[in-house]
Amino acid sequence: MPKVYNWQIGREMDYPFEGRRPRRQAAAVFDTNKCIGCQTCTMACKTTWTSGKGQEYMFWNNVETKPWGSYPLAWDVRVLEMLGPQAWDGGVYRGRTLFEAAPGGERAVGYLPEDLDYAYPNRGEDETNVPVTEERFYLRLPHDAWFFYLPRICNHCTYPACLASCPRTAIYKRPEDGIVLLDQQRCRGYRDCVKNCPFKKVFYNHTTRVSEKCVLCFPAVERGIQPRCMRNCIGKIRTFGFVSTPDRATADNPVDFLVHVRKVALPLLPQLGLEANIYYIPPVHVGNLRFLQMLFGPGVEGAIAAYRRAMEGRDEELLGVLMLAVSTDRIVHRFRVSRGHAYGYDERGEEVVRVPLQEPTMVRPAYDPQYRAYRYNVT
């Protein structure tokens, strides 16, 4: 099997195809600390792409509550269980990836969910890690009782398991932006991609009897516009752009800055070996570091420290990039923070957005003599 380099696990690994990176790789950073679980992203996607017959339980974007939520049912637990306990050695993964652990005659480790696994898209919503039966110490960080929202879309992986598993090569990765697409004309409904995508982000359409997946709103991306789930994010948690490999990272590219410079954003389940391209800022309040490390790899402690520095007002640049998230429909290729403002620029270098790091505030007197009324909200 050919060898490819996966920087997220710090080593070469087996992959059924020779490695060829796209000219640039579409990517995003999701700040889990800001997600409010409103599912606006889910609905933005659902109404755009998957409201047809046969797609009833198909969610290219879903938001699940960790630790108990999952869609389809137990996708993460099942795939981790199949892989078995594996080890990291610092930043280098010493365990086996899904490709390296593939059983004989298969391309990767995987399982095909049942229809019932899709029947409860928001199972475990808002459930805490432990039952809250008594008052716990929620006023300190991290929390004893916690949960957090994990919004998920297809990761447009550098080494997609869906693509590797399709016997017909009906799935391809676009050289111009790394978006992974499933050819609706060539698919013959074998469902090997559904089986082997560990994130379960390929779905079977019951009516057309072929598989479908997230297209990352490529018609918008081609015009410099962000995908729908990103543009509509109420919590403004999503930074969309293009990620480089660590050796080519540029500090003024927002995604590169978050992933490579501040190392505050981490891939989801890097140990699977797919080099997933949706990155997550881990939740700072979760009182179980090992759980976070299982999900996001060995960089969790560093990421949390970097994030908290910014929240304490000690990293204006990081604060600035995060303020730019979902502040414009345009894709921000470059950013700059200066004199209390963050600036975003499009591909041609034109300014597309400017955000103050601090919202101007005004304090009104509590008592309004004109209306002879007391104000509850004075700012």
């Binding site: 059924p16 017959k53 049942e114 229809d115 016997p167 090569t169 004309q185 060539r186 013959r188 009897r209």
Partner: protein, 300 residues
């Protein structure tokens, strides 16, 4: 990107390991290892029905099926042990009758884990060898007839949609079908502009067409993973499951209608192989039970 391919040498080694016995004679108690099929000339149009009288007068030949160990994903052990093969022609069309035991028919492909039963006939020019056996090559394309139990069901009982598998389905409305009868029926309820909500159909994928004209596809393959429908869909057939047994007719005109299709003629000799899929075992694509590549003689 370059796919990892199984080399010709590996394929030959595999074939040798599986044993290539000398061609056995027709109709015997033990299934033969390699197909040797005689398409006899019949004085009537070739039957489209597996239960047609004329089949009783056509010699049959039972052929062993084995797993598919050459191309990923593999299937090491066959789901079905053997397939009984008959063939005839009327000077215009050739028809094959394939029969095999299967306790339970798997006909639907609506649910995530539903896979269909099916069978296939692969035709190649004489001289095709181990490499061509794996779905042809660019130089020697294989013509494939593929009967599908799910299409047969669509033809017999109407298009099997979501509500066939999920009878309690509830859904408010499917855009853009506001006000449509519920649940909206394919294809009637879907004017062309509404089909973009059914991407496979909209993109012209043959698997996604709700209206079927035949349960048999005519395909061409130039190597594993390259299977595609030929432009002229003139293969016909029918599959009937009764008493634990599938009996399936697959038929096509002798003459080739499309550039890469194999032309057959009375008196000619060709290479042929058969395949059977058992849905309950998760068979699909390369996960199939197959015969070795053997001989097809079309009687003068």
């Amino acid at each position: 990107m370059k796919a990892q391919r199984i080399t010709r040498r590996q394929a030959l080694a595999g074939l040798a390991a599986l044993g290539t016995a000398a061609l056995p004679s027709v109709a015997q108690a033990q299934p033969s290892q390699q197909p040797d099929v005689r398409a006899v000339r019949v004085p009537v149009p070739v039957p489209a029905d597996p239960e047609a009288e004329v089949w009783a007068r056509v010699p049959s030949n039972e052929v062993s099926l084995m797993g598919q160990a050459m191309v990923l994903p593999t299937k090491m052990r066959p789901s079905i042990r053997a397939v009984r093969v008959r063939a005839c022609h009327d000077g215009q069309r050739v028809a094959f009758l394939l029969e095999w035991e299967d306790r339970r028919p798997d006909r639907r492909t609506v649910k995530m884990r539903e896979f269909k039963d099916g069978c296939g006939v692969m035709l190649l020019p004489q001289g095709a060898g181990a490499t061509e056996w794996m779905m042809g090559t660019p130089k020697m394309p294989a013509t494939v007839l593929h009967w599908r139990a799910d299409w047969q069901l669509d033809l017999d009982q109407g298009f099997q949609d979501v509500e066939a598998a999920f009878p309690n389905l509830a859904f408010d409305f499917y855009p853009p079908l506001v006000g449509a009868q519920h649940p909206p029926k394919l294809p009637e309820a879907y004017p062309p502009e509404a089909r973009r909500w059914l991407p496979g159909w909209y993109a012209g994928n043959p698997l996604s067409q709700p209206r079927k004209t035949s349960p048999v596809e005519k395909l061409v393959a130039q190597g594993a993973g390259t299977l595609e429908q030929l432009p002229t869909q003139n293969a016909t057939g029918k599959g009937v499951w009764k008493d634990g047994r599938w009996r399936v007719v697959l038929s096509k005109p002798l003459r080739a209608a499309d550039p890469r299709e194999i032309p057959l003629a009375p008196g000619g000799t060709y290479a042929v192989a058969f395949a059977v899929w058992q849905g309950a075992s998760g068979d699909r694509g390369a996960r199939k039970s197959i015969t070795l590549l053997g001989r097809l003689r079309v009687e003068p």
